[in-house]
Assembly symmetry: C2
Homo-oligomer: 246 residues x 2
Amino acid sequence: MNIILFEKDELADSTILLSDHRAKHIVKVLQSLEGDTLRVGMLDGKTGEATVVSVKRKYPFVVELYVNLNDQPIPPPAIDLLLALPRPIMLKRILSQVTALGVEAIYLLNANRVEKSFWEAGILEEKEYRPHLIHGLEQAVDTRLPHIQIHRRFRPFAEDVLPELASQYTKLLLAHPSATENLSGCLAGSNGRILYAVGPEGGWVDFEVAKLLSAGMQPFSMGNRILKVDTAVVAIHSRICQEMEN
Amino acid sequence: MNIILFEKDELADSTILLSDHRAKHIVKVLQSLEGDTLRVGMLDGKTGEATVVSVKRKYPFVVELYVNLNDQPIPPPAIDLLLALPRPIMLKRILSQVTALGVEAIYLLNANRVEKSFWEAGILEEKEYRPHLIHGLEQAVDTRLPHIQIHRRFRPFAEDVLPELASQYTKLLLAHPSATENLSGCLAGSNGRILYAVGPEGGWVDFEVAKLLSAGMQPFSMGNRILKVDTAVVAIHSRICQEMEN
């Protein structure tokens, strides 16, 4: 936890009172004392410093902070993710990791090779997935929660939603093993928001590839090595960041 | 499992007999029948095709394969990893992921912020870590096991081992948040083997950074966002691959 994040409604008279895992972190890991300053941030708001007003060091831990928010959080890279719904345990990790890397929107989509049971997972409810997003923000020192959109039907998404979304992006990129071009080739000279798509374990079926391409997506290859979805997401996200920096 | 891998001593008269998780995979996931062909490979050897000679479809599963090895595996990228020993559960995932991405050597090193208990983990024994490497190879369709070297003392490694290793590499790169140069800058114009180093959660201490730099490592930054070790390894590895491809 590289920043202590809090909800807007936790703040009253520039003060927040913590009694959950954040209080435990301040007591046990940071070992903060009265008068110390901590990096804090309001979810979807500014970051700044907080002064420790009081600490109860015995369980149950309680920490009172006086908060001073003056700084904008680091802007995330202009990258969004379209992801065929993975296994819940993998989704949790991907949500944290991709939030840490910086993302504004994550579209979770059905596909032929998505197991039906994945759609019954609790993690698809906001109260379940939000902590994983916050975990990524706490890691990366950011406050901006990514927007999660859930699309349970492939075809309406590919035919109606994606073509509408396309106008927000300069590039729509589809990771596809048989593509001939690599990411650098696809991104050469482009400047603006990028959406990249990663399919399910086993890949998209031909029908899905055809639909995504006709919605304007451009295929790219990551080379001969087949990657698991969680490795692929971090690897591709990171490569796109690098291309955008150069 | 995108390739069925086997040990050299499992092969007799071009035939292998499987009765473990590989047999289960062939029966339950691939649903192979007699006469079907499968992609196979010998660990640290060639890849090729195997014909299913016989299958016992009921538990306990048994599969007999007739093997024909003719192809060299895809060469891995010329990248090695120097990693401060992470938490065992994270190490398992990193070993699989970085093997899938392609790596020849992984040096596991002590550091001030490595928890002492991590050195007692069973995963540091070859029989424990090898399955995680094989898992990465099965994913990426490779046969070449990375070499793992374990260095329990930082200072002898940094002072004696690393300067000797340095001659094998064109670049020794140290992920360090306060560096001014990024990876593209560090790698511009270089052509050859790369070693990159990732520290423990919380980072290297100043003494360690000084030692690594005086052994010839060059610091680079991944930007303002602080990443967990497992995310950082995949992100950096992937960025170096991309620079080497370009």
